[in-house]
């Protein structure tokens, strides 16, 4: 399906900032599950921006503004065509080695109770990952403790414009547990079409199978990503997929609006 | 040249000049306090000296009673006093270290040796004759540094920035000394001047190292008008306002030539010079001496501000 997206953020540097430096991870890639029809990122200074691909394969706009005056508006918008592939992304060329996504990070730290029972499983990897997705949903989905922890995770990661806490928490849980089982897993930040509530950034996970390649798992919806999922960026965790990161950060970044509609 | 290097060179020279000026002021204040015959006169001289150095408010905050020992300690050793000799030497050395590659080894060695010697001194040992000895030592060290600078540094933009710092500081110092005592310099019906006036005039001249050269220039007894004229308008007097302002203008002119560009600081230094060129003491008195000095100090400060802007200090 064709999905139109418009993501608006604001960035407020401290007063008297001499040079505001910021980077934007706001450009989706094309692959097996989606094709970028058109896309634009608008922010003061982007005409002079450097563009490069980061360590995880995301396109980054690297921008700066001398003596910025008040809040800056940042808008990413465009149309993405999506395909339902049951979450299977395969092994696209040019991506970093999957083993990179075995690295443990602070945000993906998980208790052994989450994954312990899969350590000696005889199931194949794909069955294990589905079972793990169910397990993560059971243990972390909606619990009080989970909410608490996710808020901590938020403040620590300094992310803004980030997905709802529960989706991020579940994705981190899944990623951390998979890595503990020696399965490369990465964090995905993206958009979800047709969400019940107001549209917001969404988060899920992808794990690596030597046969099929990368496969998506959405533990907050308990399914593999469908054509309603639009991938924006991937990384080790929410920190490395932060859509807007700035120095000096001042009042930080706020997501003003996310619109995800059929195009 | 990095903007920060230019800034460090500017302040390096300013702080060395300031250390010298502080030592000279304290010496004058100290000597005057010794000869005061009035009750409370000792403290009065010391306090007015600190006013000229613009550190009187900082001293009040220490809560100490002004006497020779407390004031001397405050002016020489107190790190809380940003203009104390110690603070100035420390700041000069810190600036010098940051631009270690832009200054000559003679400059560095002169400054470093001064600092190492100074840091060996125990404050409680410094009293009376020792205090005067120390203050003379500070002046000599400042002269030595200036000598090393003039004798060894390349005559490039770095030299210009350091000269600018030297003369901006000196102009400020002379203007403040005058402003502190401007009332004893005003024309009055009583032309003779009593003992008290003579003492004040002596203080002014000594604070500017001008008590002997005054005689050379005027061949006359101390007169208020001459003293003001000497320290403001005499171009041959190396601490006069007109001399310092001229040096600042020439120095900035060198920068304009080197970089091929006139900037806002050049207009500002022209404003500064315009105040003292083509004028006379009569005009200045008519305009108001205090108002004149206040305006001069402000324009001199503008030079520093604009220099920072024009050449990317930060």
């Amino acid at each position: 399906m064709r999905i139109a997206i418009r993501h608006t953020l604001s960035l407020t540097p401290p007063p008297d900032t001499n040079n505001l430096v910021f980077q934007l991870l706001l450009t989706p890639g094309s692959g097996a599950t989606q094709k970028l029809e058109r896309w634009s990122v608008e922010a003061p200074g982007t005409s002079n921006a450097a563009r490069f691909v980061d360590a995880f394969g995301n396109l980054v706009h690297f921008v700066n503004q001398m003596r910025p005056d008040g809040p800056l508006a940042i808008t990413a918008s465009g149309i993405v065509e999506t395909f339902d592939r049951n979450g299977v992304l395969g092994k696209p060329g040019g991506e970093p080695v999957p083993a990179l996504f075995l690295r443990a990070t602070t945000l993906t730290r998980v208790p052994v109770t989450l994954y312990g029972k899969f350590r000696s499983t005889r199931e194949d990897r794909i069955a294990t990952l589905h079972a793990l997705m169910a397990r993560v949903g059971e243990v972390l989905g909606g619990s009080e403790a989970g909410q608490q922890q996710s808020q901590d995770g938020q403040s620590q990661s300094q992310t803004s414009g980030a997905p709802k806490a529960d989706a991020a928490l579940l994705a981190h849980g899944f990623v951390g547990a998979a890595r503990a089982l020696d399965i490369p897993a990465r964090y995905v930040s993206g958009y979800l079409f047709g969400a019940d509530e107001k549209p917001a950034p969404h988060a899920w996970a992808e794990a690596y199978d030597p046969g099929l390649g990368w496969i998506g798992f959405d533990p907050s919806l308990q399914l593999c990503p469908t054509e309603r999922h639009v991938r924006l960026s991937v990384g080790l965790d929410a920190l490395s997929t932060t859509p807007v990161r700035a120095v000096p950060d001042g009042e930080g970044v706020k997501t003003l609006e996310v619109r995800v509609e059929a195009a | 040249m990095l903007g920060r290097t230019a800034q460090n060179l500017f302040w390096l020279s300013r702080y060395v000049e300031r250390a010298e000026n502080m030592a000279r002021l304290l010496e004058v204040g100290y000597k005057m306090s010794l000869t005061s015959r009035r009750e409370g006169g000792e403290a009065e001289h010391l306090v007015s000296m600190m006013q000229a150095a613009e550190v009187d408010e900082a001293f009040e905050k220490t809560g100490r009673v002004a006497d020779v020992d407390t004031v001397a300690h405050f002016m020489v050793f107190d790190e809380e006093n940003p203009s104390s000799v110690k603070s100035c030497l420390m700041a000069a050395r810190t600036n010098a270290r940051s631009v270690r590659t832009a200054i000559t080894s003679d400059m560095w060695q002169s400054l470093n040796a001064a600092w190492l010697e100074f840091s060996q001194i125990k404050p409680r040992d410094v009293r009376g004759a020792r205090l005067l000895g120390l203050l003379q030592w500070v002046r000599q060290r400042s002269h030595e540094f200036r000598g090393a600078l003039l004798g060894t540094i390349l005559r490039n933009d770095g030299f210009a920035f350091s000269q600018a710092g030297n003369f901006v500081e000196r102009a400020d110092n002379t203007a403040r000394i005058l402003d502190m005592k401007y009332f004893v310099l005003l024309p009055r019906a009583d032309l003779v001047g009593g003992d008290l006036d003579i003492q004040q005039w002596t203080l002014i001249l000594r604070a500017a190292s001008a008590h002997r050269s005054y005689r050379h220039v005027y061949h006359d007894r101390y007169k208020a008008r001459n003293i003001a004229d000497f320290l403001i308008l005499k171009p041959e007097m190396p601490r006069s306002l007109i001399f310092c302002a001229g040096m600042i203008r020439d120095t900035l002119g060198t920068l304009a030539d080197l970089y091929g560009q006139r900037l806002v600081c050049h207009d500002v230094v022209d404003d500064l010079c315009a105040m003292i060129e083509n004028t006379s003491m009569e005009e200045i008195f008519a305009h108001g001496l205090h108002e004149f000095l206040t305006e001069f100090i402000e324009r001199n400060n503008r030079v520093t501000e604009c220099l920072s802007e024009s050449y990317n200090f930060y």
Partner: protein, 473 residues
């Protein structure tokens, strides 16, 4: 290796003088009775004058500490040096290939020659470096290899320093002092020059400028500032090679490129020899609280607009836990056996090895994996029972945090001490530059443990330095 008499670099076991030291021995012999003591006093004078150069500044006081200098040079024969330099070159080639591999396809991990977990979860591994292609494929351009000698033909590499090795200014100043003290000695003995280092450093840095730079690249040395203990070295090197010495605040990023703030406006910077640790380099990518770095610097690097020397993330190749795999790394990338040996190292995570280590701790050296400068270290033979017990507990609690090696009988060199000339233990740090070619300065920094019997040569622990002479054929 442990209990043998240490190798004396000057004398054969029968007391005769070894060939490389013959001319020096004659010269010492010919000195008047108090000749060396006068020379030592002169050296003090020279260093006091250069004094500034070796100052170790505290943050508040002007206390200037000189690192002791010994007037008797350490001599390495041309043949010995040929072997050493071949071994060093092999090592830095392999380690740069290793860095390129683990930040790209990680073939060595796939082949199982180095455990993947050891690299991927290592704090010194920098994920942000994945996929970066530095100019000429060089990651670590400036390297110091710590080498010890235990026999006529036995050299061991103690440590590779691939992050920001320091001390090269001491090597240069030691030579400068020695030539002032004993010019006649240099007439008799042909010593390979070290003065070429600053020029070679400049050439190396120019050769790794980003591909899009035309004309002479603009080079800056990035220092944490005047309160850093190596500040002198930073300003010395900048001065010697004609580069601008910058602090973080002097640089800024605009349009993805790096500039310095000069009195006449922004000026582009192409190559940065940075003496700031990875963590503090760029608050946008690394530690957000860093005040020393330049916001956006890493992205400018990633975008290919500036070269960082050394590259971030090189620490993974000199990690103490990775050290034991260096011979395997050399074989994997170069298909050759290592010319220089590693010191045998015990792995405490292995139950058998750990048990053996705990039993014999009194004969061993224990090092913390991430420690440096001689801190967090136990030298078995000179330690107390209480210290040994403490380290046993530490090892049991965190076996992966320590590596354990036999106590090496470091070679000794005659050294001028209060009692006259006496043997003292030494090590050697040659400096290597990697750019368009590999340039190894003949010699390096010899550190000497001035305390009798001591094996710790670190200057923070009372070590001194010697001029190091490589003889020319």
């Amino acid at each position: 290796m442990g209990d043998a008499t240490p190798f004396d670099e000057m004398h054969n076991p029968d007391g005769t003088v070894r060939e490389p030291y013959r001319a020096l021995a004659q010269w010492i012999e010919a000195q008047p009775e108090n000749g060396l003591s006068l020379m030592q006093a002169d050296a003090e004078g020279i260093f006091r004058k250069l004094g500034i150069t070796f100052a170790v500044y505290g943050s508040d006081e002007g206390t200037e500490k000189l690192i002791p200098f010994d007037v008797i040079p350490r001599i390495i024969s041309a043949a010995e040096w040929r072997k050493l330099s071949r071994g060093i070159e092999q090592r830095v080639r392999a380690l740069n290939a290793f860095l390129h591999d683990i930040y790209h396809r990680q073939e060595i991990l796939k082949a199982g020659r180095v455990p993947a977990k050891l690299i991927l979860n290592n704090a010194a591994f920098c994920p942000d470096m994945m996929g970066v292609d530095p100019a000429r494929g060089v990651y670590s351009h400036i390297i110091g290899v710590d080498i010890v000698r235990v026999g006529p033909d036995e050299f061991y590499v103690l440590e590779d320093n691939l992050r920001t090795p320091s001390g090269v200014s001491y090597m240069l100043e030691d030579r400068e002092a020695m030539m002032q003290l004993a010019p006649d000695l240099f007439q008799r003995i042909k010593v390979a020059p070290v003065e070429t280092y600053p020029e070679n450093l400049r050439r190396t840095l120019e050769s790794v400028a980003p591909a899009n730079v035309t004309g002479t690249p603009s080079i800056a040395v990035l220092t944490p500032g005047i309160y850093n203990s190596a500040y002198f070295e930073h300003s010395f090197l900048a001065d010697q090679m004609g580069a601008q010495l910058c602090e973080g605040q002097d640089l800024f990023v605009d349009g993805g490129k790096v500039y310095m703030r000069t009195t006449t406006g922004p000026e582009r910077v192409d190559v940065i020899y940075r003496r700031i640790d990875d963590d503090f380099l760029d608050p946008l990518t690394f530690r957000p609280d860093s005040m020393l770095g330049v916001p956006g610097l890493f992205n400018a690097y990633r975008a290919g607009n500036v070269t960082l020397v050394n590259a971030p993330g090189t620490g993974i190749a000199d990690d103490k836990a990775v050290y034991t795999y260096v011979p395997a790394i050399i074989e994997f990338y170069l298909g050759e056996k290592a010319i220089l040996s590693n010191v045998p190292t015990y792995n405490c995570t292995d139950d058998d090895q750990r048990a053996w280590v705990l039993e014999n701790i009194g004969d061993l050296v224990v090092k913390e994996v991430h420690g440096s400068g001689g801190y967090g270290m136990l030298v078995g033979p000179t330690s107390t029972k209480a210290q040994q017990a403490e380290f046993k507990k530490k090892i049991e609690a965190r076996p992966d945090n320590y590596i354990v090696q036999p106590t090496l009988a470091l070679s000794t060199c005659p050294t001028y001490v209060n009692a006259g000339i006496a043997p003292r233990h030494v090590d050697l740090r040659p400096y290597v530059l990697v750019g368009d070619e590999i340039r190894i300065t003949p010699g390096g920094l010899t550190r000497v443990a001035l305390k009798k019997g001591s094996l710790v040569v670190n200057s923070s622990q009372g070590g001194g330095t010697k001029d190091t002479w490589v003889l020319e054929d």
